[in-house]
Amino acid sequence: MEKKYWKGVEELNNSPEFTRLRDNEFFENLPIDELLQNKASSTSSTSRRDFLKFLGFGVAAASLAACEAPVKKAIPYVVKPEEITYGIPDYYASAFFDGNDYCSVLVKTREGRPIKIEGNKLSSVTNGGTNARVQASVLSLYDSARLTSPLSAKKKATWSEVDAAITSKLSQSAAAGKKIVILSSTLPSPTTKKVVAEFSAKYPTTEHIVYDAVSYYGLLKGNELSFGKSMIPSYRFDNAEVIVSFAADFLATWLSPIEFARQYAITRKLRDGKKNMSRHIQFESTLSLTGSNADNRYKLKPSQLSSAVANLYNKIAAATGGASVSSSATPQDKAIEKVAQELLNAKGKSLVVSGSNDPNEQVLVNAINHLLGNYNSTINVNQECNLRASNDAAVIELMSKMNAGEVGTIIFWNANPIYSLPNSKDFQAALSKVGTKVSFADREDETAQFCDYVAPEHHYLESWNDLEPYKGYFNLVQPTIRPLFDTRQPQESLMKWAAMPQADYYSYLEENWKSNIYRMQTGVTSGQAFWTQSLRNGVFEVAVTAASAPAFTGNVQDAASKITKPGTGVELVMYEKTGIANGAHANNPWLQEFPDPISKVCWDNYFAILPSYAAKMGFKQGNVIEVKVGNVSVKGPVLLQPAMAEETIAIAVGYGRTNVGKAGNGVGVNAYPLVTIANASMKYYTAATVSKTVEDDYPLAATQTHHTMMGREIVKETTLSAWLKDAKAGNPEEMIETPYGKKKVEDVDLWASQKNPGFDRPNHSWGLGIDLNACIGCGACVVACNAENNVAVVGKDEVMRSREMHWIRIDRYYSSDVTKENAGEKGLGKLDMYGEMEKPAAENPDVVFQPVMCQHCNNAPCETVCPVVATTHSSEGLNMMAYNRCVGTRYCANNCPYKVRRFNWFEYTNNEKFPYTMTDNLGKMVLNPDVVVRSRGVMEKCSMCVQRIQYGKLEAKKAGRRPLDGEINTACAQSCPTNALVFGDYNDPQSEVNKLAVDGRSYHLLAEIKVKPGVFYQTKVRNKEEGKEA
């Protein structure tokens, strides 16, 4: 018989009491109702056990509830952070540096989301200016291509796993005496450098190699050869009266464009009684943004530039008693002679720069500046620039080390050599010989895909850091949002792997600032106070170290012997575009749709060729050609680009990414492989062979397809001398023929007598002034407007159909050989004249830029024709648009003489046909909650940032005063690095816009049709003799 075990004697007895108790689990019933009546706990009979049971239930219930918590798109704050008020933006001082541009910024956040980047006026480097890339950087934060967690062998992993693995690998490499290489972009951050140093201390075999996609090695090396120290000085274009640039695109991409653009504009503006202007002369092969702004521009083949520098040097040397060098003739020697004279006349107040990456050419440039005594004024070697430190020699050497198997571990930090190295195939091969490959890339990019581990870095808006762009100029980078994904700062990763004591990089940074950087000043007396202040201001600048002429030790003869000699035949030159630059932000739809300031083409790169030369070669726009350099060949479409040098083909780097994300993959072709390596430095031009392919034409998407002004007074222009004689030079009063003789435009009025209420501007009258002399056409305003006003990105196909949505565009016009004036002499009839005027000047046209947004006409033609009063005028002079009233007849757009109205041809939100910002849930986080997202079928246009105006007015009201001039600013005006756009209130007699409006150079676009715009322009003044060259 089987045994029976009793649970206890009770069971044996099996008393009824026992059975009762056994049958119900809790034999003391819970006094829940008592509890719910919440009797005072003292009186309630809740026992300890009961409490524990409640606790148990509670936890269970809670966890159950947690399992099925509904996911909502909008979750209100349960506990509102004290610094956040709904609808009120918070601004955080920070800084942008992506290995390319430096910019001190303020980050605008709404309800904890960074939505807009604005310039930080406290920085004396960028001084509130920004550029297209900086403006667009906020969108990269919400890039769905970013990695959401670390990867180990391409699989998602946890940080602990990755850390453990990498640490062991590192110690193995160190133990085996193999190199640990950190291949990073320039890191102008003192604290980061400290971290790297401590890391190297932990792993002695560590080697830190700096590699920038676009190298400035030549500049660094050149200075080393000249002054015995590898460094880049700071340039002061604002002190220069004569600026000579040899293919240095310092307004768009060279070194520190935002800073230089501001300095440059200072010398170009003719405001507040300033009557002098710098002379700007550019020698270049491509038409760069800088070249298009030059007073005189001379074309040279890439291989001729160095010799041109040498010839200029000889001319200067001859006059200043310097040693002459041997050099070859160039087609522009006559011009060089004149330029030399101008430089000599401006001794000590001139500046010569070169964009070349050839150390020897830079030596000659330094020599010129030295002979001209510019090192006391326009160049400061004591104020070193830390923005570029790339070392081509080291990178090239690295590859041999890798091949030799000396490298145990390699860490890529904001470096993507597989994409951006010319010989990336070899590098890839070499990489396979490296034991452990780690990348900090924020996405699985071209290089990261070959790495064993990816430790994704934060976006800079999630990071702590500090920057020292120039010696003694510091800028803190602070996070403005909690990390969106499971990512980590590289600095922190290094600290973990080096097992450093500090908890995280933040504390390390704070510590470093409180202890070390704090000591650089005396004003603030406590480290904490200093830290808070620096954090608030973003910037901390110690007194500028004065310039002093260094001893020039360069060997000019040697340098001159080593420079490239003028070559024959087709030459290829690689350059950076104003929007995409080195290609790091290729997945940013705003930048891809941002039209290139010169070609107006977006969503592609191309081979730019001079039309006459293309004709000679038998190429037409859109033809696909093949360019061969050595054994590398690249196929791409032809773009007919006026003002290119003869026998020269230019292509932009930064395109043809394959692993960057939806928007950027496969856009354009990768031109980096065409870069050559000559005497241990990257060479961005080379001889090439070109051939037409049989492939079908490749259409390019351009936002502007007609390039001349057809002899119309759209951008008014004059020369400095003429303007000095007559303040209204080039801007004569518009007169209208009437039966009573010629009359001023404003005197011709159908309702002249009318004094209706509703037309006067009782409170404000907003206006915008645009100084065409200060506008360099960089396009920061275009992207700023995208960000501020939720402007849709529509993609290449739609742009090809002329349907881009930009509210502000920058028109670029070339001068034409035939003008109304000279048509007669050329014996052209009216028909032929117009035909000819459509063609830009074949060889070297003048270029003008003109930002055009809604002109907010007071007699708006768009308003009168709207059947449903969807667009009307405000009592503050704004042309308003009521989207939800619009029925979409498009009559207003037809009747707009400026063609600034944009129609929503499709639903651009949540539409897979437009897989950009507004379709992707992450991308939507960048939307400005103050601006409605337009739906399909309605018209939209510039509102003069009415939401900002409203906000400013309310702020002023709260303060019980009227808004101050400059307090309210539109996104475009605010983003402008040169302050070419000035926004203000005409009703405020003190406002700057009022001062400008009465200036002799001010005019209304198409004044003769008398729509009374609220926006006005100022004549462009060129500092050159009419007709005469140089």
Partner: protein, 466 residues
């Protein structure tokens, strides 16, 4: 009683009696349709189906499926709208203006011409709706009280003028047409053999018996309607032309547009009437009523209006040159020599040169030539609107925005489809409505029919003999 000189060509051929007219006109309504009708009808319906497809695609996806862009906001849509409205004008002109001028030859064509008006205006209306960005709120331009309180329409806008003009024009033409139909419905009613036919036509004829008082009022109403339709029809195309004339686009901003557009409208309208009736008189066997004389008369109108249009074109160019306005001058030079030169020159050929052929009586009286030329005129007038709209817009003030416009299959589909809609309506009309105003036509049989003229001639000769 009224007699008419036999020198005037007869308006009705053959020795027709009143009853013959009744028989001839009712035949299409009472007999079965022949294969030609079925062929035409199936073609029209096929096109109509394409229209439905293209329109639904547009409404579903967005106007982006058309070829428009930031610079050219209107193209085929408004071209077709103006073209159709213009065609409509002939009907009202024939029934109203010719009535005021007591032109008896109008009687055999006014019914179908008016029908054409109605259907053409319907087609035009479809383009107003489909060209909107948000057609589902197409009623907003009508001043209706709404939940937003004081939110009304903008009476300064030519588009609101359009809304009023087109809707007035449509409804007035409709009642004008219907009132004329009532007596004829009565005829069919009395001849009706089947129960349903009788029911339907009883309903349609509003219980008409033709008492003296009815006829008196009927004639008065027709006369007054004609009186007010005349300025109406002139106003409609003037208003349409103001869509362009009141804007400031170079090439649109032109004071001669109203008369020029009205002339053009009549021009194209008569051409369309010709196209329709030359086929109709054959298919429905109405050669005796729609005679060579009628065709000749209409060709004369085409000749005159065509010449007016030609003069207008030349005037535009002259004014552009004479004004000395930069933009105006370029707009017109660009029309003739710019990227759309081919459109301009096809317009010139079809509208200015072709109609001049009608100076020759032989061609005026040749059915074939008339048919061909009427087609040419229709094409030319379509191009006129295309030229005015597209070439003016694609290169206006700021060269940076200059661009080209390329139509898509969707726009083509909607246009062809609208022709389908039009012909479907017209063919149905030809089957169930009396295509000739018989009651009115009967009034002239004694004076202007061939038979009566013969009798009259005989009697005269007899008198001479006595």
């Amino acid at each position: 009683m009224h007699k008419e000189s036999e020198l005037r060509p007869p308006l009705i051929l053959g020795d027709k009696t009143w009853h013959d007219i009744t028989e001839d006109v009712c035949r299409p309504v009472e007999s079965k349709a022949n294969k030609w009708w079925w062929l035409a009808f199936s073609l029209a319906v096929a096109a109509l189906l394409w229209w439905i497809v293209a329109v639904s695609y547009t409404l579903g996806t967005g106007l982006g499926v058309w070829g428009l862009n930031k610079t050219v906001g209107w193209a085929w849509d408004i071209t077709n709208f103006v073209w159709w409205v213009g065609i409509g004008h002939a009907g009202t002109l024939i029934s109203a203006i010719l009535l005021l001028f007591r032109q008896k030859w109008r009687l055999s064509i006014n019914r179908s011409a008016e029908a054409m008006t109605i259907f053409a205006v319907i087609c035009a209306a479809t383009f107003i709706v489909t060209h909107m960005g948000r057609p589902w709120v197409a009623y907003w331009p009508i001043p209706l009280p709404n939940q937003f309180g004081s939110l009304w329409v903008n009476f300064n806008s030519p588009l609101v003028w359009d809304v009023f003009a087109i809707s007035t024009y449509f409804t007035v033409s409709l009642v004008f047409w219907y009132t004329g139909l009532i007596p004829d419905f009565a005829v069919i009613r009395e001849r009706a053999t089947t129960k349903w036919r009788k029911r339907i036509y009883t309903l349609l004829s509003f219980g008409w018996v033709g008492s003296a008082k009815n006829w008196q009022r009927f004639e008065e109403v027709s006369l007054v309607l004609a009186g007010i339709s005349t300025p109406l029809v002139l106003s409609v195309h003037s208003v349409v032309s103001m869509d362009f004339a009141t804007s400031l686009v170079p090439g649109w901003h032109t004071t001669i547009f109203p008369p020029y557009f009205v002339a053009g409208a009549v021009f194209s309208g008569f051409a369309m009437v010709q196209t329709l009736l030359i086929i109709g008189r054959k298919v429905l066997g109405l050669e005796d009523y729609i005679t060579i004389y009628h065709i000749d008369m209409m060709n004369r109108v085409i000749l005159i209006t065509g010449s007016i249009v030609g003069v207008a074109y030349i005037t535009e160019f002259f004014i552009a040159w004479y004004s000395g306005v930069e933009y105006e001058q370029y707009a017109f030079i660009n029309r003739a020599t710019g990227p759309y030169w081919w459109a301009y020159w096809s317009m010139m050929t079809c509208n200015v040169i072709t109609p001049q052929l009608f100076w020759s009586t032989k061609l005026r009286e040749s059915v074939f030539a008339t048919f061909i030329i009427s087609i040419f005129v229709n094409i030319g007038m379509w191009f006129e609107r295309f030229v005015i709209i597209v070439t003016s817009l694609h290169r206006d003030y700021i060269p940076s925005s200059w661009t080209m416009y390329h139509p898509t299959w969707v726009e083509a589909g909607i246009f062809i489809g609208s022709l389908g809609l039009f012909f479907t309506c017209f063919l149905l009309f030809a089957r169930v409505f009396p295509v000739i105003a018989m009651s009115e036509l009967k009034t002239i049989i004694k004076s202007s029919s061939e038979g009566s003229k013969k009798k009259h001639a005989k009697s005269v000769t007899q008198e001479v003999n006595v």
